[in-house]
């Protein structure tokens, strides 16, 4: 017994000495470390995919917050019932404050995507693989970074420019000067447009056209009219894009017609948990009987304002996706009353279940480029035949009678029409707020709807929680 005991103690001591050396090294199993990661083209592609994933921002917060922030404070939409209402109400009523959670959510999502793009931009140059693809990957990442800065700029105005993935907890960046910010985004998009291919093998990736389209829209919202025309001309001249050529204008948004020539850049969705759009479950009225597989129907109700619905031309096909009655689960036909119609622009993905539908969301489409050019030409030259022709190209597809130049006495008259035309063409596409702001109507229309609105509200406030973390951020005026 004694001997055995001594042996076992001896064994233990040997074990102890062996285990001492690296006893406290951390073994990582479920993640990669930097040492075994930045090696191959595949690693570079994976880094880029993470940046895409963040930029595409699928899922609940993605759709919901952006649409609400872009439309519930306009002449298109109100939101009633459900949990979303409490968050949407201050936006609808122009009573939001810097603590509203949508601002913090948007801020952190966009900056997270920017960080992920910066990782690609910083690290991929050091990985050894095909130079062509390498340059393209970096260009795609720079495109994604620029697009996120545009989304931020749309909400908050100029924000801190973070262009490196070397970040630290002690960073307290200040907001960039507006000119510096705008120039950065313009230069980036212009530079990458020279590298990005006209067509990508995989639908959803950044292309030359996407970069030009973003640039066109960025110039438009910054009212750089001549640059809008220049960029739009290049895009049109590319010959890749066209208006959708289908039976009906609204078929453009059917799932089977995705990957068409009109969608220049999309937020792609597929009917899988967390990767779809939950727009329809929010818009569907109570007990709505889905045509395909059973789906979620949220308590929240996205309702189209009657004043908007009534503004359409009688023949306008585009309003046909706004439903005014429906069949409920019990087979009854329910009529939707005043301010209760529903935009079903993104029509039902029949086999999808749950709240994730596969409808792609167009971030920029060709019709927008045509109408942007028409708007810029009017701003530059006043009413002109080219603007009218551009608008008529879109109207023709919607089966509404063409406009004639003679109906527009001055620049303001055509400008007003373009704003209307854009509402008919782009409702439910998250563009209305920026269109109204550009036209100087955002606050005016709110007041007309009975809201107590102030001029400073054309910008949302920098999220309070971000200012709490970074005192170097100066809040937007008025807040």
């Amino acid at each position: 017994m004694k001997i055995k005991m001594k042996n076992s103690i001896g064994l233990l001591i040997v074990f102890l000495l062996l285990s001492c050396q690296h006893a406290l090294d951390e073994t990582v199993y479920s993640s990669f470390g930097p040492d075994n990661f930045f090696n191959s083209q595949e690693d570079a592609e994976s880094l880029l995919l993470a940046a895409y994933a963040a930029e595409q921002k699928q899922g609940t917060d993605g759709f919901r917050n952006i649409l609400v922030m872009a439309e519930v404070n306009t002449d298109l939409l109100i939101i009633r019932e459900g949990g979303l209402r409490g968050l949407a109400q201050p936006l609808e009523d122009f009573t939001w404050n810097p603590a509203h959670e949508f601002f913090a959510t948007a801020w952190s999502k966009y900056y997270n995507a920017i960080y992920k793009a910066n990782l690609v931009i910083d690290h991929v140059p050091n990985i050894d693989f095909d130079e062509n693809r390498k340059n393209q990957i970096i260009a795609e990442a720079r495109f994604l970074r620029a697009s996120n800065y545009i989304y931020l700029y749309d909400l908050f105005g100029s924000v801190p420019l973070i262009t490196s993935s070397e970040v630290a907890a002690d960073d307290r960046p200040s907001r960039a000067e507006k000119e510096e910010f705008v120039r950065f985004v313009e230069d980036e998009l212009l530079e990458v447009s020279a590298i990005l291919p006209v067509e990508q093998a995989e639908y959803g990736r950044a292309t030359k056209g996407a970069a030009w389209a973003f640039l066109t829209k960025f110039h438009l919202n910054n009212k750089k009219w001549d640059k809008v025309v220049e960029r739009a001309n290049e895009l049109i001249g590319l010959g890749v894009y066209d208006l959708f050529d289908g039976q009906k204008r609204t078929d453009l948004f059917l799932i089977e017609n995705e990957e068409n020539k009109e969608f220049i850049y999309v937020r792609p969705h597929i009917a899988q948990p967390g990767l779809g759009t939950n727009y329809l479950p929010h818009a569907a009225p109570p007990n709505y009987k889905y045509k395909g597989a059973a789906k979620t129907n949220y308590a929240t109700q996205l309702k189209t304002l009657s004043s908007f619905l009534d503004s359409f031309h009688l023949q306008d096909e585009r309003k046909e996706v706004i439903i005014t009655s429906y069949e409920d689960l019990n087979g009854n036909i329910i009529s939707l009353g005043k301010d209760d119609a529903r935009s079903f622009k993104f029509q039902e993905d029949l086999p999808a279940t749950g709240a994730d539908l596969g409808n792609d969301f167009p971030v920029v489409r060709y019709a927008d480029i045509l109408l942007s050019k028409a708007e810029a030409l009017n701003e530059l030259n006043g009413p002109n035949q080219e603007s009218i022709d551009l608008i008529n190209q879109v109207r023709e597809k919607a089966n509404v009678p063409p406009l004639s130049l003679s109906s527009f006495g001055d620049k303001a008259a055509l400008r007003d029409h373009i704003l209307k035309e854009r509402s008919w063409e782009f409702f439910t596409e998250e563009l209305r707020r920026q269109d109204l702001i550009r036209h100087g109507r955002f606050i005016e229309y709110a007041k007309a709807r009975g809201k107590v609105a102030f001029d400073y509200q054309i910008r949302y406030p920098i999220p309070q929680s971000e200012i709490d973390r970074n005192p170097n951020l100066v809040q937007n005026d008025g807040y």
Binding site: Q58, T95, W96, T353
Partner: protein, 704 residues
Amino acid sequence: MQDHHVTFSGGVDKLNVHASLNYANQQGVVLNSGLKKYIGRANLNYQSDRIRFGINLNGSSIDDQYAPSGVSINESAGIIYSALFQDPTLPIFQEDGSYGVTRIVNLENPYALSQEIRDDGKTNRTFGNVYTEYAILPELSVRANVGFDRQNARRDSYISRLLKRGEGTKGMANIRSNEALNNLLELTATYKKQAGAHGIEALLGYTFQEFEFRGLSANAQGFPLDALYTDNIGAGLQPTYGVGSERTRNQLQSYLGRVNYNLLQKYLLTFTFRADGSSRFGESSKFGFFPSAAIGWHLKDEAFLKDVSFLSDLKIRTSYGLTGNQEIGNYNSLVLFGPSGEAVLGGASKVGVSAVQLPNPNLKWETTRQFDIGVDFGFLDHRITGSVDFFHKNTQDLLLLLPVPRTTGFNTTLRNVGGVKNYGFEFGLNTLNIDREFKWKSNINFSTIRNEVTDLGGLPFILAGSAGFINDFTIIQEGQPLNAYYGYQIAGVFQLDDDIENSAQPLSRPGEYRYKDVDGNGRIDANDRTILGSPFPDFTYGVNNDFSYKSFGLSFFVQGVSGSSLFYMNRADSENPISFRRNRLRDAYLDRWTPENPTNTNSSSVPVAVSYASNVNSRAVENASYIRLKNVQLRYQLPLKNNAFFDALSFHFTAQNLFTITNYSGSDPEVSAFGTSNVSADFNAYPLTRSYIFGINANLKTGR
């Protein structure tokens, strides 16, 4: 609730055996929740002159049924939240027998929740140790101990199609399975010597402990029928399949030494030293060094007190020492890349890889320096005994999840930040008040505590706390208690004839809350947030009295807390609901402001015109002081003399949590929704159970 124990002890010669079995079955307060435990234990010890050897084995199996609870909101909310906020007129069942559902409130029918979510867990655990001790010399012995702990757990949950969440998805199944291992090696050598008046005991040791965790999960939606539950997860729709797995490991390594010295058993000295290493910290700061020293002096044994007859014991002791904390997650110091979102490209999902955290390579031990001084005393032949202690703890390099500017791409990072101190008195007294056939004993304890953040490493403040619809409700700020509640002070309610236009809230309407303009700048904004209360009590106390007469006994225990505040998040939600269709807490709603009831206490409950403040306000931070009758027990010991079967047989009846006196309006002033986190708040608290227990203790005669 049922609880049964059977114990067996015995031995032959140098061998000792002990075994026990325990079965407990507890039904929850919420429908369909409960816990079943089976625990078995066996100890075997061998002792000879120079050798001791032993094996301890424990096995347990726990089945639990979990009622949906927790801090989720809306359709994902638990039973308590749904029951609080669901439309109170919603019937449990409709006329056709199906569950009552509403399409305009995004909450489940709480009864349906209790029936239509299956959430069952099973945990099997085996742990034990083997040790051997060998005396090389009479004074010197060495000991080796190897311990292990294996835990296998599996949790199955199924959400049926009769719930909103399961309706669109046609059932959701989720299976999680994990395995936790923990191995321990302890090697120690002890030297013990008494030489005349000097006694010395010294110990040297080395310990190593490793923890490993492996998890696997699978989920699916879209089942042909609910009846399969999680038992055929492949029957779900393929595009909805999800799988996951993880594996982590961490280690602790320590070198330790201790010396106890005593002179005449009167003067006691202890020094200890530990070098503790944790794999969780940065490359160069894995080890922390934690020495301590203690002095004790038995005053009663001194000549000048020997003859003081009323004094039966008196001892003074003081100590100073360092301790460390490493209770953080693994890998926080490392740059890690992992799966980070799925991109949809070319019509398919593609997993991206990115940095998953903002690492802190300098992460190190959180260190507490504690000073104690105390007196133990006894009077009147130990009929009165007690102690008084003063403690002062100074914690440096707090391990905090620090919110960082989100322009970094991240939300938080783990950091060693600043310091916090805790100090107070602890007082304990045990008395034997009456000692005849009728006995009366009392135990009293009383303690005070002050908590203060002493340093924040240059940061002005850190906001923390987040759940449901409410964020940043606590503040960490120098000079204040850690995670004090932080929000808006309500000054009253705007009345019809108030000059609202010229107030600090020009767009408010009569019946809305008027907030205190803390910074006096004439408008209510984020700068008017202020400290609303401290989660730390001023003092806590407990009194236990025990009476016995012949075979009967009666005891009751009263516990109290004074001066703490608790953020009642459900009140905050209820008074500023996300949807006006949600149910409200009764007190504020029935006495709400109306032109006819111009109260200055409760608002009109109408959604505000402009939200000047957040929901974190002085109404929802409530005084959580309480006095509770925690335990009452009546005992009866059967007078047995030479009974053939029993050595002893006794019965007891125990009642727990009989009543609580408090002004706190939630269900329990003692709860926190965040478990062990240093932020506390009451959110969907599980109601406190009042229980009545009847018990029998029987000692069976053995054949010895």
